[in-house]
Symmetry: D2
Subunit: 350 residues, 4 copies
Amino acid sequence: MLTREGLLKTPIRHIDFTQHNVVPLVDAMRDMAFSARDLARAADIAERMTRDPECGIILCLAGSLISAGLKKVFADAVRFNMVDAIVSTGANIVDQDFFEALGFRHYVGEEKLRSGMFDAELRELHIDRIYDTLIDEDQLRICDDTVRQIADSLEPRPYSSREFIRAMGEYLQTHGVKSDCSIVYEAYKNDVPIFVPAFSDCSAGFGLVAHQHARGDAPKVTIDSAKDFYELTQLKIQNPVTGLFMVGGGVPKNFAQDIVVAADILGHEVPMHKYAVQVTVADVRDGALSSSTLKEASSWGKVDLAYEQMVYSEATLAVPLLLGYVYHKGAWKGRAARRWNRKLEPVGVA
Amino acid sequence: MLTREGLLKTPIRHIDFTQHNVVPLVDAMRDMAFSARDLARAADIAERMTRDPECGIILCLAGSLISAGLKKVFADAVRFNMVDAIVSTGANIVDQDFFEALGFRHYVGEEKLRSGMFDAELRELHIDRIYDTLIDEDQLRICDDTVRQIADSLEPRPYSSREFIRAMGEYLQTHGVKSDCSIVYEAYKNDVPIFVPAFSDCSAGFGLVAHQHARGDAPKVTIDSAKDFYELTQLKIQNPVTGLFMVGGGVPKNFAQDIVVAADILGHEVPMHKYAVQVTVADVRDGALSSSTLKEASSWGKVDLAYEQMVYSEATLAVPLLLGYVYHKGAWKGRAARRWNRKLEPVGVA
Amino acid sequence: MLTREGLLKTPIRHIDFTQHNVVPLVDAMRDMAFSARDLARAADIAERMTRDPECGIILCLAGSLISAGLKKVFADAVRFNMVDAIVSTGANIVDQDFFEALGFRHYVGEEKLRSGMFDAELRELHIDRIYDTLIDEDQLRICDDTVRQIADSLEPRPYSSREFIRAMGEYLQTHGVKSDCSIVYEAYKNDVPIFVPAFSDCSAGFGLVAHQHARGDAPKVTIDSAKDFYELTQLKIQNPVTGLFMVGGGVPKNFAQDIVVAADILGHEVPMHKYAVQVTVADVRDGALSSSTLKEASSWGKVDLAYEQMVYSEATLAVPLLLGYVYHKGAWKGRAARRWNRKLEPVGVA
Amino acid sequence: MLTREGLLKTPIRHIDFTQHNVVPLVDAMRDMAFSARDLARAADIAERMTRDPECGIILCLAGSLISAGLKKVFADAVRFNMVDAIVSTGANIVDQDFFEALGFRHYVGEEKLRSGMFDAELRELHIDRIYDTLIDEDQLRICDDTVRQIADSLEPRPYSSREFIRAMGEYLQTHGVKSDCSIVYEAYKNDVPIFVPAFSDCSAGFGLVAHQHARGDAPKVTIDSAKDFYELTQLKIQNPVTGLFMVGGGVPKNFAQDIVVAADILGHEVPMHKYAVQVTVADVRDGALSSSTLKEASSWGKVDLAYEQMVYSEATLAVPLLLGYVYHKGAWKGRAARRWNRKLEPVGVA
């Protein structure tokens, strides 16, 4: 019989790219074929972004990446100044990273659970499943409620998701980070903006709905997704050379690509994203955005053709190799921190 | 040499499920194997939703479905009272459906364009590509600008995307629909709410950014994605028995599933979604939400296990068969229209 | 508890394309996008093959297609003279079609069996599983043994798989076909050759191993796969205009494509395959042959570029639409039967 | 303009797992999720096979693996006694490994060639394309012809593919290996049998067709695929504990799994394959064998459930990690060489 104790036993451990010098391995893949060659070329492009002193780097995250053990990879990318902004789905940032920063963990689920045969039992036990990974639903409710408390504490007005997530970083600063690393907190400390364009579509949504419900007709916090778009576009206008490092597709991919067009609409001619890398297993033949090639994005005037590379791989295999390569090549050591949150405060807050 | 005239010649034609009685074909698939059997079972579940007098039906749309020729399928699903609410990505609703309602069209791209070798040329010609389909970028800019005009015309305050899309339907009512059918307009006439949780992540975003930029510090229209979540949750509370018909995954899938939990957080114990069908080609093994099984969703307490079915197929093949089956079985004839927009007005507008 | 009676209850029913006039449906897909448009174009090419009086049509089969309910589709394609030769994996021809011709059936497996959680139980019950379909292992052993009997009855010498499968058709003629249709038997009656290049990799292999083992050092039946290749190449030389209709990839796809080169090596300059259609879900990015594009095949001088189309779909959905379209367009009515087995007898047997 | 010189410039380089100690990296993946965790578990199982003194290890290869830069990985697996038999598609063994042993190379194709837009030009230049990799067709014809010469030199009778491939190893021994490593040659030296169940479906087929054509009615070399099956089954009977390391699916996967049943048919009760690992990107939902789970194989009595693991990854990424892990763990150092070719000679030749 399944029990909570038996199920929530082995926590997910986050891989640490500083511990694995993958440069020789990735270099050895350069003149192979298929995904290995693509991965090596993508690593080159990612590394080139960090060496380009003019380039602002935007990290896009979709899929359950943090619960899968990639938290430290992205937190370290922020810490080592390899990333200037993040655009993500809500789950990665709130349900998973902020959740762990509150002291909770994700757990390794045994193989048989993937069959789906035990999901009714898991529900009874208040355990949520992400493919092969388990979460304590009761802890997730605490995470939802923490978002509500943060919303309650803010001045009622429309916020970009970036502003709200910055407030979540501040909350961690005040209340303590109960995890050895956190993307939200690392981004807060380094003034790296995090955008979640569909912010109510995650644990934050539950907290915000509770907040708005409690406020009734009184003034309340609202989340203005147009403001997100406006802010990210401002960054593109102020820092025209940009590179995208995308894991998965979905809203973050589309949103970050679109700022080139948005800048144009605001009357600023900016170049397309100069560099673009995407790691995905999505199949191009369904015509969906997640799988659309970066070449296709260039027909839209969004991504330049010179330095773009798709890598066809599940993220847990490819991302440690890619960002580990960039880390160990060391070009980030000379990069100027952009601290874009500071640039946005006049836009976002004042 | 590619020319605009040569490229924008053959418009996409939308399939009309009323013209194809697929019931015998789908019935013949029931005792086959693999996707055929799954499709027949999904058709049964979809049909069962329409026969269940208590069930409110939520249609979720992700991927480039309207540009692919499925507009009339979904517009007719609204017209024939087979759907009570829609949750979608922005592209389907604004860039594609509303765009066509303004009198513009999508175009069949020749096969060689898929290679990506002509994307730089397409950009020069102001033509955007979605895999095998072409769009006149100049017309898309008119669509963006129409959204801006609508925003300019509205009272400055936070809106749910649903409220804004309703205003888009009203715009079509006033200015005329220049297409033989439109989801936005059909939904407007039938009081069917449309939610786009990442509303700024599409043509609407461009219009809203322009609106907000022009307003500067003056009061402006904002898009409150939390309000979307609140409204859809209210519908679940008022109409506890629900079914999901999902095409693709992404934000719409997650958002619609989540309202079960949101209702709980607001203190209302509601049943899980009783019926759920998803058409997708996403692969379960990357652990992402788009591909997560509906069984997995039941561990989260979101989807019931009795009537759920995934169909592994690209949407243009499976959706006409599925919704055509429901149409020709005719159970919608006796369905009471829910006209949920009317229920939401006190929440959303008053 | 699972029982044999409970599991082996609902037989797979084979779809009958003569009963479903899909022409209007496929025509409606022609100006859609993605798989629908590709399918319509593939249907056009498949239909064009049957209208071309010079074209010999080779059907290639990989994947568990017969057990999935497509037996009658392919048997009727032979019966209605829409196909001149078949290249297949062994499972389709021996384990599945010949098996059913012996009076056995495939069975619908309940959904939960796909989880893999019951496979140990199935093994105990002598039931084999193909994803969602079940087979009585004891009946399969009878099929193996029938192959052995046929081998025992033949003059000991090297045979092409085609010769052996023709002997299987003769066996059915003599002993009676215990199924309403059979590819092996229909091909036998119409002198349509069937090639299985990896003939020992299926139920036939078990029968042949038993035969060879019993014979010991005495003369025995052997299966010469080079002879298969030689024979199919002869057909290409004698009938230079050819079209391929491929379901799945694997050995049959490669084998049939290669005869263009083999003819060249034998000193005959023959044209590439003029028409080629493939239905598959394999992903091009792993570089494997099954998923390789038909354009790639043209770099090898195997497939012409003018009339080739990949259709990205699981076979049970796409194949009835494609071959149903060809059937209902009716061009096969005027086709001359090629009766290629008669051409091969001097090569194969004398 | 494309030229042969420009295209055939950068040879594929084969990754060398002895140079990359991936043990810490793979260990760090063990408590992550998705493919990373699966890969670590598969590495454990692969390593366990080499530590089990009773276990004979069968390597199964499908897909264009050698041309992709994995030749040295598999040749070293033979050299370091990590593998006791190989079952493969013909392309890997003949067109790619033997081809390189004759002194030829595969070449890195520029990115734009993948578009398929240049395949007609490539054909004119006698250059064959495998996705992103190029081959000199004229050199491939020399490879075909070398197979013909070997066939001409052999006593006319039915051969298993294993016997023929052993003769190819002998040819390399006599004429010299013009490559720094070769699977065929390494296997020859170490008495490791290589089986190619669809042996005529590759460059060997061209050579054999030419041989048989030249011989006309005179005695000739034939390839008996049933003998392959018989021989591999004998090995299972003599060494009942076995493990499968499978890259891709197709005929090699099915063939190697089937020997458990074949042994039973010959009256020997042998255990199922005790260990099984498969690396693939094939999708389980099309029901085909390549993607069928190893659990499904256990319903057929072929693979044990205790130690089986699928890894969802393109091979060039996963295989160096998996076999590199096994190499650096070092358990192969104590393994007894099985030299199975010596056991088969009485069966195969005498």
